[in-house]
């Protein structure tokens, strides 16, 4: 964890760790794991809200809890940029992390694989591997998506690849 800012570190230590090593094909064990995922996500969301650092919404898109959809946002120069967020729980979960997708940014940045999967290889995958099975969805958002947004959104805005939604409407109106 060297190299991470103290804020992320202290947030991370407060997200409950998971204990059940089970993936979507593991029947009852997956249900147990899913409960742990919910508890961690609830704790993390509550923590963000009380620290005035709310930055995502995520919920299961199917009863099995294998597909998740929602939104995430990032504030840059006092403007809020919001993106759709989606991912599948892979069959080999939690040995492999979920591949977080921001479909609206597909093709707009090089730090992304096709389909809008964000590139996590360097900053996140080794951490996930080291902490399997204690890390879950909440940890992937905290350590994978949050730093990616912090690094990429300013570049995307400054290079004009993305525009703030008010900007976009005002130009189309004029």
């Amino acid at each position: 964890m060297e190299g991470w800012d103290p804020n992320t570190k202290s947030t991370l230590t407060q997200i409950p760790l998971l204990t059940t090593k089970a993936g979507p094909r593991d029947g009852a064990a997956w249900t147990t794991r899913l409960k742990e995922e919910y508890k961690a996500l609830i704790a993390y969301t509550q923590m963000n809200k009380s620290n005035d650092n709310d930055w995502f919404r995520i919920s299961a898109a199917n009863p099995e809890g294998t597909r998740w959809t929602g939104k995430c946002w990032y504030v840059h120069n006092l403007l809020k940029y919001e993106f759709d967020l989606q991912f599948d729980i892979p069959v080999t979960y939690p040995s492999t992390a979920p591949e977080l997708e921001l479909p609206q940014l597909d093709g707009k940045t090089q730090k992304m694989y096709r389909g809008g999967k964000i590139c996590l290889t360097v900053h996140f995958k080794p951490l996930w591997a080291k902490n399997c099975p204690r890390f879950g969805i909440a940890h992937a958002l905290c350590l994978g998506l949050a730093p990616w947004l912090a690094a990429e959104v300013p570049v995307l805005v400054d290079s004009g690849m993305i525009k703030h939604k008010d900007d976009a409407t005002s130009t189309s109106e004029s």
Binding site: K35, Y38, D88, I89, S95, A129
Partner: protein, 428 residues
């Protein structure tokens, strides 16, 4: 097209006849006529699909697509080349390595190929082999089937446009491997070998999971993100290390990792490195299926130094993959018999070469020690890796299991309740 051109010639002819007097027009019409005739010739030589071939013949004639392959038999390299038509190979990932591997196996006359990919062909793929610019926008599986069936219509092609890491894609992947309609009396699964030609850890782990569950031998291949090194690895469930037994191995590039520029593009690629790795992969496949030469358990390729490290990896008795542990148990039961058979075979080979002792006396007990044997390591001992290989990811930390039963959490233990709680937080 030929008919159209013929019509055009007729039109030109009548046009020429209807001209009132021989003029400049006539010469340009003549010029047009010769152009059309030339086009007609070109149209006649346009590609014709070859018909299917019933039996592989060793006859050396220009029209036999298999004469050079059957020659392997005549030269004593392969015992029975025609057996290749019985084999089914599944290729997961039809990218820079997988598409070239598919073409090589198709040209070798493999019986059946199963192709898996969910991507489309893009212009950005044109720095690699196989796909052509006019195929941009097609799914990689469709584009590959198109080219491969033109090259060799004898190969049975099945393509699956899906992502094997999703729950649904994985189920289809498993059932397609189990399907034995091609050779109903084959033992085990419906395929002889699975080749993993994917570009990410998640998909490799999914192939590993499927092959461990099906007890299916497979080969893994990979090219580094900086495009200058690669590797192939043979995985026999229970007998060799599985992909989850230890963090994956990569060929060290030999340059200081910190000096590598990692900003920007996620991955670089070269047709050369990918072609070499595809060649190594299919060569190992042919050796395994047709039983000739030595099949490599692991072969690395460092293109900067032209260095090829090899090694063998035993399975990890504490592997995190449950199916791998089951296969390990099964292998321990058959191992003594298998090893005895190998020793018996080796002894029979030695006996067949009558050879007296090289020297009748050996006063100093000098013996020759074979130092060419490949290095064997346990999957877990990362410090014992041969030169030029490193681990791509760290191993999972040991962690203490906390007593599971915590009565206080029981109130929150209903999944619907938890979902509602998260929804409530999401609502504002």
């Amino acid at each position: 097209m030929e008919a159209e051109l013929k019509e055009m010639l007729n039109d030109l002819d009548s046009l020429k006849q209807s001209l009132p007097d021989p003029s400049n027009l006539a010469s340009s019409i003549l010029k047009l006529q010769s152009r059309v005739e030339h086009l007609t010739k070109l149209a006649k030589s346009a590609p014709v699909r070859r018909t299917k071939v019933q039996d592989m013949s060793a006859e050396v004639v220009d029209s036999n697509p298999y004469s050079r392959l059957m020659a392997l038999q005549r030269m004593g390299i392969v015992d029975n080349y025609e057996r290749i038509r019985d084999f089914s190979v599944a290729i997961v990932g039809i990218g820079g390595v997988g598409s070239v591997a598919a073409e090589m196996l198709t040209r070798c006359g493999i019986g059946r190929l199963l192709l898996y990919d969910y991507d489309k062909v893009e212009l950005a793929n044109m720095n690699r082999l196989f796909f052509r610019p006019e195929q941009v926008g097609m799914t990689k599986t469709d584009a590959a089937s198109q080219t491969l069936s033109d090259i060799n219509p004898d190969v049975v092609l099945e393509s699956f446009t899906l992502n094997i890491t999703t729950v649904q894609g994985f189920e289809t992947f498993m059932s397609s491997l189990r399907n034995k309609s091609f050779r109903p009396n084959k033992e085990g699964s419906g395929v002889d070998l699975v080749l993993s030609c994917v570009d990410n850890y998640e998909a490799r782990m999914a192939v590993n999971q499927a092959c461990n569950e099906l007890n299916q031998t497979w080969m893994e291949s990979g090219v580094s993100e900086d495009a200058v090194s690669g590797h192939i690895q043979l995985l026999i469930p229970g007998e060799t290390a599985c992909f989850a037994c230890a963090p994956p191995l990569v060929v060290a590039s030999g340059v200081d990792e910190r000096t590598l520029k990692r900003e920007g593009v996620c991955a670089a690629s070269l047709p050369t490195t990918m072609g070499v790795v595809a060649g190594l992969l299919v060569q190992n496949t042919l050796k395994l299926l047709l039983q000739f030469g030595q099949v490599s358990p692991y072969l690395g390729y460092n293109s900067l130094k032209d260095f090829f490290p090899t090694m063998e990896m035993r399975p990890n008795p504490q592997c995190s993959n449950a199916a791998c542990l089951e296969r390990q148990k099964e292998y321990l039961l058959v191992k003594p018999a298998r090893e005895a058979a190998i020793i018996a075979k080796m002894e029979a080979e030695v006996l067949s070469v009558p050879e007296g002792p090289l020297h009748t006396d050996n006063e100093w007990n000098i013996s020759v020690v074979d130092d060419s044997a490949p290095e064997r390591t346990d999957a877990t001992s990362s410090d014992a890796l041969p030169d030029g290989l490193t681990r791509e990811l760290p191993a999972a930390d040991e962690f203490q299991k906390f007593p599971a039963a915590e009565p206080a959490t029981a109130t929150f233990d209903d999944i619907e309740e938890l979902r509602k709680q998260l929804d409530a937080l999401n609502a504002d």
